[in-house]
Amino acid sequence: MAVLKGALRLVLFAVAGFMVYPRGLAADTPTEDQVQAVFLYNFSRFVEWPAQTFATPDDPFVIGILGSDPFGARLDEAVRNEQVNGHPLTVRRFHNLAEVDNCQILFVDRSEIARIGQILALLDHRSTLTVSQADGAAQRGVMIQFATENSRIRLRINVESARASGLTISSKLLRPAEIVGKGAKE
């Protein structure tokens, strides 16, 4: 019994330590990019990909970044040792469209927004969640767009695009977000 209690106390201590550590990092107000990096990672938990997305169970879950990388090492930090349904999370950076390969989430930096039509066309029929921070990206067919309102980052989601790509976005994600495109309540 005493051993059990001791073990429990150790676990509590460890959890408390874990809780305390990020709190020290968050002492500084996070930047917009930092928040967006975490969000990007969080999308992997609220979106469901079709079953045939992965050839093998060991295939990595890839977060691709097209264009200049606003997140830098923060994103790598956020996804380190993380998994999505058993698939290890990796970050791949694409400098041009031609490099874009098989990836589950593709962040399109606002620098590449001009070629959004081209990008979306390329990704058509691939189950890739497209995300961008460029204004009006959602209206242009990007599935999720970060928008800043009252110094808070809000999400705009083009449900139609996602559905067309065979992706299912959790209703939980949809509730606080703004729906864009056809069917949007505008």
């Binding site: 429990l8 676990v11 509590l12 959890v15 408390a16 809780m19 305390v20 990020p22 709190r23 968050a26 928040v35 969000f39 969080n42 938990r45 609220f46 993380e82 998994q83 999505v84 349904n85 808070r152 980052i153 809000r154 999400l155 959790s170 939980k172 994600l173 509730r175 606080p176 977000a177």
Partner: protein, 801 residues
């Protein structure tokens, strides 16, 4: 009854209530505890479910940093009014959102680190709090804190308490009703049983039985109790029969103890057995050790006919069989439960009379079997071992009582013999004393009447010119004097042994009887007829009768007295029988009897014992009390025997028994009267001047020369003086009893001087003197007073021829 049962009722009620209450309490407690625990559990579960749902919905808000949305999600807690507070913390533990809106943050852990005890729910005194992790997939995004008050639980507890009270009340009421009913069913048999036991205990009536009630194990109890009662009843019965046998034994022992003769002891034993044991037939056999035979001594009163039928009447000899009787004679108690099976004569005889069970009990005294008590019953196997034992004990008692009766008989016999001899001795003593007294009186009377007798005789003989009248008078006087003398002599002599002077002759008793019957006819025939009574006199005379030696007139006198007595004993008439008979042959053993039997009033024992005493009379003034005394005197003088058989109201038989002639009886020579004609010189010596004068006068008239001297001394002097003068007296007549010098000395002196001179002794004791054979030497003749002139003359003629 009800008082004693109250505790049972109360105890039963208490038991039922207590067990009911305990069961109820335990059940309620268990129920409450269970409910409490499950309620806590379900409270936690409900809170957990709600919290998880909220947490799940909060993930996006947390993940995408949307507090407004989080607050909106938290408002879903409104569904449960008991949730008083909720808070959402982000992954760093910072407060993210609260419920309800505007909740005072102070009441909450401001940071998930405070009060955070890991995921889980805890009850405090007033609230249930819990932390639920908020995670999407495997990623923990934050923490949800929720707090619920416990009002619901308390409300539930209050409800349960109310239910417990209600159920308890109903259960107790039901228990009361059921227990009353059960009590009735349980108590009824117990009370019934108690009533039975009370009846048994109070009335000692073991015949009652507890009724079966058909309830539970009570029947077993009742059966056992009844069985016990049956056993007690049996024991009681055995005890009762034992006690009754003991009582019977005691009764018989008591009854035999009161009796001293064997027949009555045997009768009372057999009667008691017949009536009380009971037996059908009982008899007592006496065993003769010498002849080795059994004789029926007594048969029970109820079995007389049966006894005659099977030949067991008293006196019958019973052969000793080789079986039971011989074993019984050997001292064993023999029990034949069924004589049908026995092939010996005596049991067969009993079996023939339908008597099948037999017990032979030996009567043992000093290790000798002197008899057998036979008890029989008609039914076979009907004597129990207890009864056999009883008969054995009884036989011991009977034997003891018989032995005592025999001893008592022997003792009584010895006592009677002793008393008889004492009585005889006393009677003889009394008669001797009376005789001596009578003798003295007779002496004086004889002296006194001597002159009367002498003068009367002399006058009648010689007085010339006596007128007829004078002669008659003198004759009467002479007869009266004779009677007086006769009475006096009888009175003096009745006690005496046979008088040798008594004139014995051959007497024919038959003739004496006939004479007396004739002579007494006026008394037994005429006088009673005058009174209107009738006496029937019958004579029954044996012929031939032996003669007896005796004085006929005495025998006649005795017979006369007996007839007078018999007539006096029959004042209203009756039968008077005079009978003679004989026994034996012609030898000296032969005896002749005279019996005088009347049918009169008889004598009681006391009278019979005293009737021979002189002066004892039952006739008052009429009787002299000398009649039977004289008869007794006669009997004594004749060496005869007197037997008197009498009982009050049964008449009297007097039997005189004489030795028949041929016995050694001396016959005295018969006196002959001789007249003296030669004048003699006679010396008279007497101290009584009247006698001297009368003798002198009468003898002088016969022509004798009389010299009288007063007293013995003077007489001797006269005689010696005369002798010296040579004028010796021809004869000396002297009195015997005189002061100083008596007749013996006178006679001795006379003979000393002149041995040839005869001496005649006159005495008032004359006959006794002769009877005692002490006639002094020197005396030639003894004459009784009053002297009769003719006797005197005869003596003178004899002595001086």
């Amino acid at each position: 009854m009800s008082r004693s049962s109250t505790p049972i009722r109360r105890t039963l009620m208490r038991m039922i209530f207590l067990s009911c209450g305990v069961v109820l309490l335990v059940t309620s407690c268990a129920f409450c505890a269970y409910e409490f625990l499950t309620f806590r559990q379900s409270s936690i579960q409900q809170l957990q479910i709600l919290s998880r749902a909220i947490a799940s919905n909060s993930t996006a808000a947390l993940a995408f940093d949307n507090p407004e949305d989080a607050a909106g999600v938290l408002t879903a807690f409104r569904a449960d009014p008991h949730i008083v507070a909720a808070a959402l913390y982000d992954a760093h533990g910072n407060l993210f959102a609260v419920y309800p809106q505007g909740l005072a943050v102070q009441g909450l852990p401001s940071h998930a680190g405070e009060g955070y005890t890991g995921a889980g729910y805890t009850f405090s005194r007033t609230a249930l709090t819990g932390f639920e992790p908020v995670a999407e997939g495997s990623k923990q995004l934050g923490m949800l804190f929720v707090e619920s008050d416990l009002n619901a639980m308390y409300a539930r507890i209050r409800l349960y308490a109310l239910i417990v009270v209600l159920v308890g009340g109903v259960a107790v009421s039901l228990a009361y009703l059921i227990s009353r009913r059960l009590q009735h069913r349980l108590l009824q048999p117990i009370l019934a049983l108690a009533q039975t036991t009370t009846a048994v205990a109070e009335r000692h009536d073991y015949t009652v039985r507890a009724a079966r009630t058909g309830a539970y194990e009570f029947d077993l109890f009742t059966d056992t109790f009844n069985q016990m009662l049956t056993q007690i009843q049996e024991s009681e019965g055995k005890l009762q029969s034992q006690v009754s046998r003991l009582n019977l034994l005691q009764h018989i022992t008591h009854a035999t103890g009161e009796r001293q003769d064997l027949p009555s002891i045997f009768q009372v034993v057999l009667r008691s057995l017949e009536e009380n044991l009971p037996i059908d037939f009982g008899c007592l056999l006496l065993h003769d050790d010498v002849s080795k035979t059994l004789t029926v001594s007594a048969v029970g009163a109820g079995g007389q006919d049966l006894a005659r039928q099977i030949g067991l009447s008293p006196g019958v000899e019973v052969p000793i069989d080789a079986n039971g009787l011989s074993r019984c004679i050997a001292g064993q108690l023999v029990h034949e439960p069924d004589v049908e099976q026995v092939q010996f004569p005596f049991p067969r005889r009993l079996a023939a009379a339908g008597l099948r069970s037999v017990v032979f009990a030996p009567l043992i005294v000093e290790s000798q079997v002197f008899g057998v008590l036979v008890s029989t019953r008609r039914a076979a196997h009907s004597f129990s071992s207890g009864e056999c034992e009883f008969l054995k004990q009884l036989s011991e008692h009977v034997a003891l009582a018989s032995h005592q009766a025999r001893l008592h008989g022997a003792l009584q016999q010895a006592y009677d013999d002793l008393r008889q001899s004492q009585h005889t001795t006393m009677q003889q003593e009394r008669l001797r004393a009376l005789g001596q007294m009578a003798s003295g009186i007779a002496h004086d009377i004889n002296n006194a009447i001597s002159p009367v007798s002498l003068y009367t005789e002399a006058l009648l003989e010689r007085e010339p010119g006596l007128s007829e009248r004078s002669r008659n008078y003198l004759t009467t006087i002479q007869r009266a004097i004779e009677d007086v003398a006769g009475t006096v002599s009888r009175m003096r002599e009745f006690y005496r042994e046979r008088d040798s002077q008594l004139t014995l002759e051959r007497v024919q008793l038959n003739r004496a009887v006939q004479q007396v019957v004739e002579l007494t006819r006026p008394r037994w025939s005429d006088l009673p007829q005058a009174r209107g009574a009738m006496v029937d006199l019958q004579t029954d005379l044996a012929d031939p009768m032996p003669e007896v030696m005796g004085a006929e007139h005495e025998i006649r006198d005795a017979l006369t007295n007996l007839i007078f007595n018999a007539v006096d004993a029959m004042p209203t008439g009756g039968t008077l029988r005079v009978r003679t008979r004989k026994t034996g042959g012609a030898d000296s053993e032969a005896r002749a009897f005279i019996e005088v039997t009347d049918t009169g009033v008889g004598m009681d024992e006391d009278t019979r014992r005293r009737c021979l005493e002189p002066f004892y009379t039952t006739k008052g003034e009429r009787g002299s009390g000398l009649g039977l005394a004289m008869v007794y005197g006669m009997i004594q003088r004749h060496s005869a025997e007197l037997e008197i058989e009498s009982a009050a109201g049964q008449g009297t038989t007097v039997r005189l028994s004489f030795p028949a002639y041929g016995s050694s009886v001396v016959v005295a020579p018969k006196a002959q009267q001789v007249i003296v004609n030669r004048p003699l010189r006679i010396l008279l010596v007497d101290d009584d001047p009247m006698l001297i004068k009368s003798l002198k006068d009468t003898l002088q008239e016969d022509g004798h020369a009389i010299t009288a001297s007063h007293g013995g001394h003077q007489g001797i002097e006269e005689f010696s003086a005369a002798a010296k003068r040579g004028e010796v007296f021809d004869v000396v007549v002297t009195d015997l009893g005189m002061p100083h010098v008596d007749g013996r000395k006178v006679a001795a002196s006379v003979k000393g001087i002149s041995p040839t001179t005869p001496v005649i002794l006159l005495t008032g004791w004359g006959q006794r003197l002769i009877a005692a054979n002490d006639a002094p030497a020197h005396v030639d003749k003894v004459l009784a007073k009053p002297p009769r002139l003719h006797e005197l003359r005869a003596a003178l003629a004899e002595l001086v021829p």
